[in-house]
């Protein structure tokens, strides 16, 4: 029996892709195998650890729980797409570097995408809210202390950057 395939169109990190993929291939495998975007990691394959979290039309989802063919026509952001257009690290990426928010780095992409979406919704989180926001992702290295700190720092950097932009606009 040969593998059944289907054509999907995806926009990933702003780039359009057209691929013929096996219909049973999970989205994380499509990203990793077909698009060679290996920044998205697979930790449990049943939606519990959150390492494979990507943004689907801006919302965090577990890419191991979706089939690639079901997201035909959608917009996806992976960890590779978080970096700012000018090449700077995004506020969340920078915060993880500043706060030692990662050790082995395997779970990190899932945290980065989750937190990116969270601080957009909640630009001034409390520590409790920050902890709650990352409480669906597993990390075995950090004990989460510096990840929670990274969420708060990321929100701070995002606020700093947005006020810089506002100032630039207003001085023109």
């Amino acid at each position: 029996m040969s593998e059944q395939t289907a054509e999907v169109r995806l926009r990933v990190n702003g780039i359009p892709y057209l691929r013929e993929i096996p219909v049973r291939r999970t989205l994380c495998d499509v990203l990793r195998m077909d698009l060679e975007l290996t920044g998205t990691h697979v930790g449990c394959e049943h939606g519990v650890c959150g390492a494979c979290t990507i943004l689907l039309d801006g919302e965090p989802v577990r890419s191991c729980l979706l089939l690639g063919v079901t997201v035909d026509g959608h917009d996806i952001t992976t960890v590779e797409g978080l970096t700012e257009d000018d090449g700077r690290l995004s506020p969340v990426q920078q915060a993880f570097v500043d706060c030692h928010g990662l050790q082995c780095g395997f779970c990190t992409p899932g945290f980065l995408t989750t937190i990116s979406s969270f601080i957009e919704e909640n630009p001034e989180p409390t520590e409790e809210e920050a902890r709650e926001a990352v409480s669906g992702n597993l990390c075995r290295c950090t004990g989460y202390q510096n990840i929670v700190a990274s969420v708060l720092r990321a929100a701070e950097i995002a606020r700093e950057r947005s006020s810089e932009t506002t100032e630039e606009v207003s001085t023109r």
């Binding site: 029996m1 040969s2 593998e3 096996p22 049973r24 291939r25 990793r32 975007l37 290996t38 920044g39 998205t40 990691h41 697979v42 930790g43 449990c44 394959e45 049943h46 519990v48 650890c49 390492a51 992976t78 960890v79 590779e80 978080l82 970096t83 690290l89 990426q93 993880f96 570097v97 500043d98 030692h100 990662l102 050790q103 082995c104 780095g105 395997f106 779970c107 990190t108 992409p109 980065l112 520590e127 902890r131 709650e132 990352v134 409480s135 669906g136 992702n137 597993l138 990390c139 075995r140 290295c141 950090t142 004990g143 989460y144 202390q145 510096n146 990840i147 929670v148």
Partner: protein, 839 residues
């Protein structure tokens, strides 16, 4: 001056790559030509294999090969190596790369399928028909010890090893002591559970006859040695590269895993790259677990609580095979002593086979169990005497002026258990102030007034870190002035690239940013042992420091010739060799590198200076002096006579819900001494992670085997690995720096520190809150709930003491409150379990 880098919380150089998705883990390697392996694993805990029929699997489109033990030849068809032999390991048994004629645990590999795609390989694996003759398995320490069934027919009593160590006459010392107590402590299984499982990718170059193997390991040189031996290749035909590794915590030090042999074997046989990535369920049932032990303690002590004699018997469950030898129970039995030096000591461990996944080191490696037994014994002594738990520990501490302390025991490195340095009393003082120990009764009372139950717990440990035999380092200054460093041990998130760069930057006097470190690549450094036992900073840190010192010496010698200045008048600062007191007279280190390598051919502007007509030649000497070498690079090795002993003390305040028995950690404090600190940011990160794993082991994680040997919680849905919501919200850390006396940098290891005393601390705190004995760890709210309601159903402790007499559980506060100091007059709560004997 170059800014000193060592001791500074330098940001990690690894991170910009890892936060942008540019990490390169094993599963990220490969292309369309790569074949994918999947393994058929035993669904039974104990069974004979009658027949394997791969026919249907072969029929699946895309399948390239299906292999069983019958396909293996030579050394590969023999059992896997016993990695760490020991004279007491009299009955060592190991598995095969693929099961030969029987299986001994669920998850044991039986056949390998190789296909064009992992999905296809798994389809086909499901079609391999294995006919089993299912046998009753041996599950659990009690069933193994009973030995009515044998895991291996030729291993009587299921016993792989019985090992005793002692100093003094412990039995006599206990018998003669004014007070004696005996307890049994019970610790469940857990596992390392890195977020990235294992993975192997092999590429065979048939023209060069050379194998390149990427594996998610903690020892690339170990894997290289094992693969070359098992596949019949010369060591020089095999390169093992450890790319980014998504956590290890011990499980990846075991080697060769069956897959580490089968994948390269298939790559050679099929002449195609082959890869295998472990999935989560595979990791649960076919990697390794740890922790499970039953420890029986008999202790004799005086009126101050000073331990005069200590006898310990350990039953250790090592699973179906014992490839990693006795390291875990040796650690338990020697590191149990912690910061104390009992008058006499005897420990005996029995290492038992069961039909479960193998047991090999998990962060802490046997120490959490030993420390649990010792620290809880200290708690009980305090309780019995009506003394403060900290005071009893203080009465037993080794004092700072007693170092070095040689116990007359043998440590896990085969060398004497000999503490080099430490300051345990100061550590206790720091901990008391960090956790507000002396004010706790007030805190407890005010909480009690609100109907809340609080308890405080404490635990100390000493950890032998940086065991040998050795690690090496290579340091090379390029003509650009950049410095390339390599060391053989591997990295799994410890920030080695940052920490070792800090060390070399300081030794060479170059900016930290100019130093680039490679680890775990046999092409760069072929001699190494591996990353385990908190040894990275101690072993490779010192090795790269020593190598850098040689390079520094050579740089100064070359510059001295070039500048015509005495070596004594030169200094290395900011990547330049400078004449002291004359900053205008300097020569960049990159130029020194050019001059250090006499050239015939110039390949760029800089290299012209080193050619034969450049006018820099001293005709009185040959271009390379006898005994000298060209180039500004060198290697060196660090090989210690003894491990260095780090230490720490933890304390926690917990709250237990009077109704639901929910257990909440309100405060967690750590005082930590790893000698000189290279990077405090990294050390604190290691402590955070260790404490989280400790809390996991204390409150959440078990391996729930049923009687049939099925692991019933083999998924992240059922195995309760803590999220951010379950770990302490904030860990207070204070450092103590007692330099190691054994190594040039004065460092001790830090990697495992956080996890070691945590179970003891949490149990101590729960016991203190509940005033009822907590023996078994981990403990869940429902178990605590049941203990409260049905305490009598809990099995009483075994009294192994000679002439065992009255045994009661004493509430410490009722003793303290009692005007009479005779404990037998105090009220005995209904939930009595501990036994005591008073003379």
């Amino acid at each position: 001056m170059t800014t000193r880098s060592m001791g500074e919380p330098v940001k990690r150089v690894e991170d910009p790559r890892l936060v942008t998705g540019k990490g390169r883990y094993v599963d990220d390697i490969g292309d369309a030509r790569t074949l994918h392996a999947a393994f058929v694993r035993s669904p039974h805990a104990r069974a004979l294999i009658r027949d394997i029929d791969p026919f249907e699997a072969y029929e699946v489109e895309g399948v390239v090969g299906v292999f069983t033990w019958d396909d293996l030849e030579g050394a590969l068809a023999e059992p896997l190596p016993v990695l760490i032999p020991h004279p007491d390991l009299t009955h060592a048994r190991t598995g095969y790369p693929l099961a030969k004629d029987r299986v001994n645990h669920v998850g044991e590999p039986v056949a390998m399928v190789v296909a064009t795609d992992r999905y296809v390989a798994e389809d086909a694996a499901g079609l391999v028909r294995v006919d089993y003759d299912v046998l009753e398995p041996v599950v659990g320490i009690e069933k193994s010890a009973a030995a009515t069934l044998l895991v291996h027919d030729d291993v009587p009593g299921n016993v792989a090893a019985v090992s005793t160590q002692s100093y003094g006459d412990a039995a006599a010392a206990v018998a003669a002591a004014p007070h004696r107590l005996t307890f049994e402590w019970d610790i469940e299984r857990s596992a390392c559970m890195p977020m990235e499982g294992k993975g192997v990718h092999a590429k065979w170059d048939s023209d060069e006859e050379r194998l390149t193997l990427w594996t998610s390991t903690q020892t690339s040189t170990g894997v290289r040695g094992a693969v070359s031996a098992k596949l019949g290749l010369e060591l020089t035909q095999v390169d093992v590269i450890t790319p980014d590794v998504g956590g290890g915590f011990g499980v990846k030090i075991v080697h060769p895993w069956p897959e580490e042999l089968m994948v390269p074997w298939a790559a050679i046989r099929l002449n195609r790259p082959v890869k295998w990535t472990e999935d989560r369920r595979e990791h649960f049932v076919s990697s390794a677990h740890e922790r499970a032990q039953l420890l029986t303690v008999g202790v004799g002590f005086d009126d101050d609580g000073k331990v005069l004699g200590l006898e310990v018997d350990i039953l250790h469950d090592h699973g179906a095979y014992i490839p990693y030898g006795l390291i875990v129970p040796i650690n338990s039995s020697t590191q149990l002593l912690g910061p104390y030096h009992p008058g006499a000591y005897r420990v005996t461990f029995t290492s038992l086979y069961t039909n479960t996944v193998i047991v090999t080191p998990y962060r802490g490696a046997g120490r959490p169990q030993g420390v649990y037994a010792m620290e809880r014994t200290m708690d009980r002594i305090a309780q019995y005497l009506g003394k403060d738990r900290m005071a009893v520990r203080e009465a037993n501490f080794i004092q700072p002026d007693e170092f070095p302390v040689d116990f007359g025991l043998m440590f896990q490195d085969g060398r004497p258990l000999r503490y080099d340095s430490g300051n345990y009393p100061e550590m206790a003082e720091k901990l008391k102030s960090l956790i507000d120990w002396d004010d706790f009764e007030q805190t407890r009372a005010s909480a009690a007034a609100e109907g809340r139950k609080l308890g405080i717990g404490v635990g100390f440990y000493v950890e032998g870190t940086g065991p040998g035999p050795y690690e090496g380092g290579h340091v090379q200054v390029l003509t650009s002035g950049k410095v390339k460093v390599s060391t053989g041990l591997t990295s799994q998130g410890q920030g080695h690239q940052t920490a070792f760069a800090q060390v070399v930057a300081d030794e060479l006097g170059v900016p930290f940013e100019d130093v680039v470190v490679t680890t775990g690549d046999t092409r760069r450094f072929g001699y190494s042992v591996g990353t385990f036992a908190s040894r990275g900073a101690v072993m490779s840190g010192n090795a790269v420091a020593l190598a850098a010192r040689k390079v520094r010496e050579r740089a100064l010698a070359v510059a001295s010739d070039a500048l015509e200045v005495d070596v004594e008048d030169l200094e290395l600062v900011d990547g330049k060799v400078r004449v002291k007191g004359d900053p205008s007279s300097e020569i960049p280190l990159g130029t020194v590198a050019v001059l250090s390598n006499p050239l015939r051919y110039a390949f760029d502007e800089a290299s012209k200076a080193a050619t034969q007509f450049a006018g820099t030649t001293d005709f009185s000497k040959p271009p390379v002096e006898p005994g000298g070498k060209p180039g500004l690079d060198d290697s060196d090795y660090y090989s210690p006579a003894y491990s260095t002993f780090a230490a720490g003390a933890h304390a926690a305040i917990v709250e237990t819900d009077p109704e639901t028995a929910e257990i909440k950690i309100l405060k967690y404090a750590v005082v930590h001494d790893c000698g000189k600190i290279i990077n405090p940011r990294i050390v604190e990160g290691q402590i955070h992670g260790g404490v989280a794993q400790g809390v996991a082991g204390a409150l959440y994680e078990i391996m729930a085997y049923d009687e049939a040997g099925q692991l019933t919680n083999a998924s992240f849905m059922d195995f309760l690995m803590p999220y951010a919501s379950e770990v302490p919200h904030g860990i207070e850390i204070d450092h103590l720096e007692t330099p190691s006396t054994l190594n040039p940098l004065g460092v001790k290891g830090a990697g495992e520190a956080g996890v070691i005393p945590t179970s003891a601390v949490i149990a101590s705190a729960i016991e203190d809150a509940e005033r009822m004995p907590i023996v078994r760890m981990p403990i869940s709210p429902s178990e605590l709930f049941d203990l409260r309601r049905r305490p009598r159903e809990v099995e009483p402790l075994v009294n192994t003491m000679p002439g065992g007499a009255v045994a009661t559980w004493i509430d410490p506060r009722s003793v303290a409150d009692a005007t009479s100091q005779n404990p037998t007059t105090t009220d005995v709560p209904a939930n009595s379990r501990a036994k005591k004997e008073s003379e």
